[in-house]
């Protein structure tokens, strides 16, 4: 089963920016997948389209076989999203943010509270349970968004630059947590512009630049062809992007 199947995906924003120029991408169930690319490559745009937050201009997207056009609500139940930007109400308490999200997924309040406590503990936010989100550190806010994304036990977890601005120690902890989630069966897609992060965690990788997939391979194959080579490929692509600017 394919967790994600994307065919001929195009997106032109109302500003005229062509963010995606025909993306094809298949991600298998159970995969730990990296979408690697420099800033402005189109990573967040792909994710917003998969999660129905942005409308596509053209193409086809399926989540576990369900088309986002035909049954968007069903497609949404499979996904947990950790967006790039913080998007919770900073005046709400940690526990309320997580349980409210559970409610949106149809989980009754009593069960939501139990699940929320469990998940908050797992992410090391237990002592911040009744703290206002505003008072959390950057890394904690990121973990809060992970807790929120996992509350309905999604089959697919998508993280958009989860470690941007997170310190090394916390990053290692987060990697550990994600690895365990993946071992327990959750398909994970993350975007990053750190090559090391993709190397460390992911089984498959796609390098994307200027709205196009430039390379899509198993990590192992890439590493076999030489670590330097991979770095060079990536640097080349980034260089290209810089020159255009």
């Amino acid at each position: 089963m394919q967790a994600i199947s994307i065919k001929g995906l195009r997106k032109t924003y109302s500003t005229g920016t062509q963010a995606l120029k025909g993306v094809d991408l298949n991600i298998e169930e159970g995969d730990f997948f990296a979408l690697l690319g420099p800033n402005g490559a189109g990573k967040s745009t792909i994710i917003s389209i998969i999660t129905s937050l942005t409308r596509k201009s053209e193409g086809e997207v399926k989540v576990f076989g369900t088309s986002i056009d035909e049954d968007p609500d069903k497609a949404k139940t499979y996904i947990g999203l950790v967006p790039q930007e913080f998007n919770f109400n900073i005046f709400e308490k940690v526990i309320d943010i997580v349980t409210t999200q559970a409610g949106y997924y149809g989980i009754p309040r009593k069960e939501a509270l139990e699940r929320a406590d469990e998940i908050i503990k797992a992410l090391g936010l237990w002592d911040k349970r009744d703290t206002m989100a505003q008072q959390l550190s950057g890394g904690m806010k990121r973990r809060l968004m992970i807790a929120r994304a996992l509350i309905h036990k999604p089959k697919l977890l998508i993280l958009d630059e989860p470690t941007a601005g997170v310190d090394i120690e916390m990053r290692l902890g987060m990697w550990e947590f994600l690895r365990r989630m993946n071992e327990e069966g959750t398909t994970i897609i993350l975007t990053t512009h750190y090559l090391e992060e993709a190397e460390e965690l992911c089984r498959n990788v796609a390098i994307i630049n200027k709205g196009e997939v430039r390379l899509h391979k198993p990590m192992k194959e890439l590493l076999e062809s030489g670590k330097e080579k991979l770095e060079n490929i990536y640097l080349e692509i980034i260089q290209e992007a810089k020159q255009e600017k």
Binding site: S14, I79, G103
Partner: protein, 252 residues
């Protein structure tokens, strides 16, 4: 699905109660001042209107005015902030259908409007005694009006691009129409020209329907009032559903 609706409504209600000094108190203070200044001081100098004291006459209008403002302000601000802070995405990524999302926002506005209306009614009891001609009309007019202005506030919130976008309509459209909508006077006291102009103000019909429920008097036909209320509700609901389907103003 109902859990999702219940979650939205509950969240709104909890917020409303938590920050009661911003959501519930201001309209009560304002209308109390109206009761004192217009009702007691000035009203006592004025002739009775169709057998009711001026105070009794303005009570339904002032309740209506506070309900209109509260329900409108509730949806326009909650929706705009949800859009601006991107917390709207929390709902949009979930499998909650659009009509439930709309119902959730509308319920927030209606609960606030009806709650404020009830509180203002209780305050009015300190100034005059309660007369109820037909309770069913009071309730129906209250529900339809708060629903209408919750929808209108939501549409405003969808279109608003900045903070001025959420205050222009209330200040330059809503407030004047409300003040001229027969809250403080019967349009029969107007010169003919202005009386006819007033008949184009939809709020006039709502205030009069509501007043009819309390006092049994009205400047316009009650059937007409309810037809207008229902018609505007239907149009606004259709528009809101359409805007949500297109993701207008909140989906790229």
């Amino acid at each position: 699905m109902w859990t999702s609706y219940y979650t939205m409504a509950r969240k709104e209600f909890v917020r409303m109660i938590r920050i009661w000094s911003q959501t519930l108190l201001p309209p009560i203070v304002t209308t109390s001042l109206y009761f004192v200044v217009f009702g007691s001081f000035i009203g006592s100098q004025l002739a009775a209107i169709e057998g009711f004291s001026y105070m009794q006459f303005i009570v339904p209008g002032l309740i209506m005015m506070s309900m209109i403002t509260s329900s409108y302000m509730n949806t326009v601000s909650t929706f705009y902030f949800a859009k601006w802070q991107r917390t709207l995405d929390e709902i949009l990524v979930s499998p909650t259908p659009n009509w439930i999302v709309i119902a959730g926002f509308i319920s927030g506005g209606m609960i606030r409007g009806l709650l404020v209306g009830t509180l203002v009614l209780i305050v009015s009891l300190f100034f005059t005694h309660l007369v109820i001609h037909q309770l069913a009309i009071v309730i129906l007019a209250g529900i339809l009006t708060t629903m209408l202005f919750s929808l209108a506030g939501l549409v405003n919130g969808i279109f608003a691009k900045g903070f001025d976008g959420i205050s222009i309509v209330p200040t330059f459209v809503l407030t004047p129409l409300t003040y001229l909508g027969g809250v403080f006077f019967s349009i029969n006291q107007f010169p003919e020209f202005w009386r006819i102009v007033s008949l184009f103000n939809p709020i006039l019909y709502m205030v009069n329907a509501f007043r009819y429920g309390f006092l049994g008097i009205s400047d316009v036909s009650i059937a007409m009032s309810f037809s207008i209320l229902i018609a505007i509700n239907v149009v606004l609901l259709g528009l809101t559903v359409y805007l949500f389907k297109k993701g207008w103003g909140f989906k790229n």
